[in-house]
Symmetry: C2
Subunit: 353 residues, 2 copies
DNA sequence: GCAACGAATGTTTGCGCCAACATCGCGGCG
DNA sequence: CGCCGCGATGTTGGCGCAAACATTCGTTGC
């Protein structure tokens, strides 16, 4: 419209001059002298189009700057080529890394990612997030870091493929699990192997599945080794909470080995020990969990459990795609992703006193 | 296919049985005994609907579990209620924090967020990301952390509102700027005020606008104070690169104050100094930039420049919404967000030797 | 008492695309 | 030589929704 005579507001200042609607298939079709259906075929890379015609259509698309309208395509096909990700905060290191990997894997398959962040840890907040995504039209949903919710049985709205990362819901949906238990076993066994009589544990918050699993495995590993099981200390994943726990531990001369639930808490523990004048690793050994990019540079560099978040992201997307193809959940339960032990300078044999 | 004879796998085990299409307005309309247009009016909260009718429609929606189909709505209105975010990697602390804030602000306005991650730092990669988003049908785009690209003039596809965070592009588009210059000035002046003769700087990668701006401001601040300007050291934001720079600095007895381009590099610098036996802050003071959650717990806790990423995210969304309303870019140039200096234990007056 | 109005609701139309079917033309085969 | 089959293309219809316009009916003003 308004294209006759005057050009649509030439140089009217705003960067998006000419709010004329973008070219549609019909425009391309007209320019290329074919039907819009042929344009559709070219756009979708169908095989049954004559090479010469295809060239012509592609050229017209190029000239007009044609971009298919995803909304129209989605409406017509019922597919959106979009994944939804629900995460409890994006800042937590693992969540950010996992999200990045999911985005990368999705992009490789020409899917985009719609991110929703849940603030409150309630069932209704998660349900809202689901509603938001189902409205926003996604083909499947990845739920990251399902924390323990206020209802025993969160009923995720069904009818949509779902993949759960590290959550309880993997009982009902395919899931990816970072094998917390194995990581905690690795950490605990490493300290035991070094000769420590037992290992103290600073656990993550009680409403975290990951924290709970790590603690359980720590407990099992100690039992299996016949080591005494010291009382559990709780933190909230933050360095501050690790510091608080570290203060307690530093006051106890019996403590020679500590397994912190994540690297941040380990950092806090290290600081508390340092302030108490207990040297690491000579007097006390500390192991973390996650392997932050910074952990190798802490003082001392931190022995920790490395998590392969890239693999977690890839697996999530793969599991979702499996469901797209098969039309239902093929794998039940969680696909494990193995963590690895990274030994650095914060652990050593106990003092020989 | 294969749908004849056999009913489509009733209760075949998958969690999404009954792939029957979700209820549409027509279904709701029929149940409520009104026209679908009235349902539309209720769904969009229009005022001119009788209260009784509205109740009836809402009840029907409830019963049927009706969710508006966003694709159809978008097709009809041309609006998508979706923001696109382009980021160079999601792991970088600032990017993750900013993204989280953007998601939160968008959700508050009932918009969703489509995230695209750019891996290569080339113009074409960014252009691809734009293409991806414009195809995926977003109403506007936020470009985070525009690194210096391989072309002098990146021409962002126009016709769509854009907001740029910390990038060169804010010359052509509204932008949000974390006021790198002010942060670097605060850091440098803090060290100078403590009595240091001059301040050495470990700069971020050369292709980062943020790094360049911090370095420029550091330089200006030194000049303004009449302090000598030592040679610039380059890192790549990583702790490893900070460590490498720190090794060099530790070998130079003249160095008493270091301003690192971010907290990770500061961590590396601290480690190198520590290994060289130079005590912090007694012999050398170190200031970082960003204020990671962990920085307060480093040994020693790190003096740094705090960035308000929440505010950045909010501003981005606000600027985009402004453009939606006005139909064009109202604000040109960057909206500054002020950083603040956080003094901790890694800085002090220089040795009195 | 009647025209004019406006609120509540219905009808029509088309957004851009794709699935399904229709058509056309050409070469092969009995 | 005529029919079949297949590859290339065109035509029709409808996905679910909302804008624009049409209709109904109860009010108000003079």
């Amino acid at each position: 419209m308004a294209k006759d005579g005057e050009v649509a507001k030439p140089g009217s200042g705003g960067p998006f001059e000419a709010r004329t609607r973008p070219p549609s298939m019909a425009d391309v079709a007209e320019m290329a002298g074919v039907s819009s259906q042929t344009v559709s075929r070219v756009a979708n890379n169908r095989s049954n189009v004559d090479e010469a015609t295809r060239e012509r259509v592609l050229a017209a698309m190029q000239v007009l700057g044609y971009r298919p309208n995803t909304a129209a395509r989605a409406l017509a096909t019922g597919k959106f080529r979009m994944l939804g990700v629900i995460s409890f905060g994006l800042n937590a290191y693992g969540n950010a890394r996992t999200l990045e990997a999911i985005v990368a894997a999705a992009q490789d398959a020409d899917y985009s990612v719609n991110v929703v962040s849940v603030r409150a840890q309630t069932e209704s907040a998660v349900r809202d997030a689901f509603d938001r995504l189902t409205m926003q039209a996604v083909d499947g949903i990845i739920l990251i870091e399902a924390q323990i919710l206020d209802t025993p049985a969160l009923r995720l709205p069904s009818g949509l493929p779902v993949v759960v990362v590290d959550g309880e819901e993997s009982r009902r949906h395919p899931g990816v699990d970072t094998n917390q238990a194995e990581g905690a076993r690795l950490a605990t066994a490493h300290l035991l192997d070094l000769g420590h009589r037992t290992v103290w544990h600073v656990c993550g918050p009680q409403d975290s599945y990951a924290a709970r699993r790590r603690a359980e495995s720590w407990h099992r590993t100690l039992k299996a080794a016949g080591a005494p099981v010291p009382p559990l200390l709780y933190g909230d994943w933050s360095a501050a909470s690790g510091y608080a726990a570290g203060l307690e531990l530093a006051a106890n001369p019996e403590v020679s080995a500590i397994f912190a639930g994540n690297d941040q808490m380990a950092l806090g523990v290290v600081r508390a020990l340092h302030e108490a004048g207990r040297s690491i690793p000579d007097e006390v050994s500390v192991v973390g969990f996650d392997d932050l990019a910074e952990s190798a540079w802490f003082l001392p560099s931190l022995t920790t459990i490395h998590q392969d978040f890239e693999e977690v992201g890839r697996q999530c997307v793969a599991l979702l795609f499996d469901q797209f193809r098969s039309g239902h959940a093929t794998v039940h339960g969680a696909t494990p992703v193995a963590p690895t032990l990274i030994v650095r300078d914060s652990t050593s044999a106990p003092p020989t006193s």
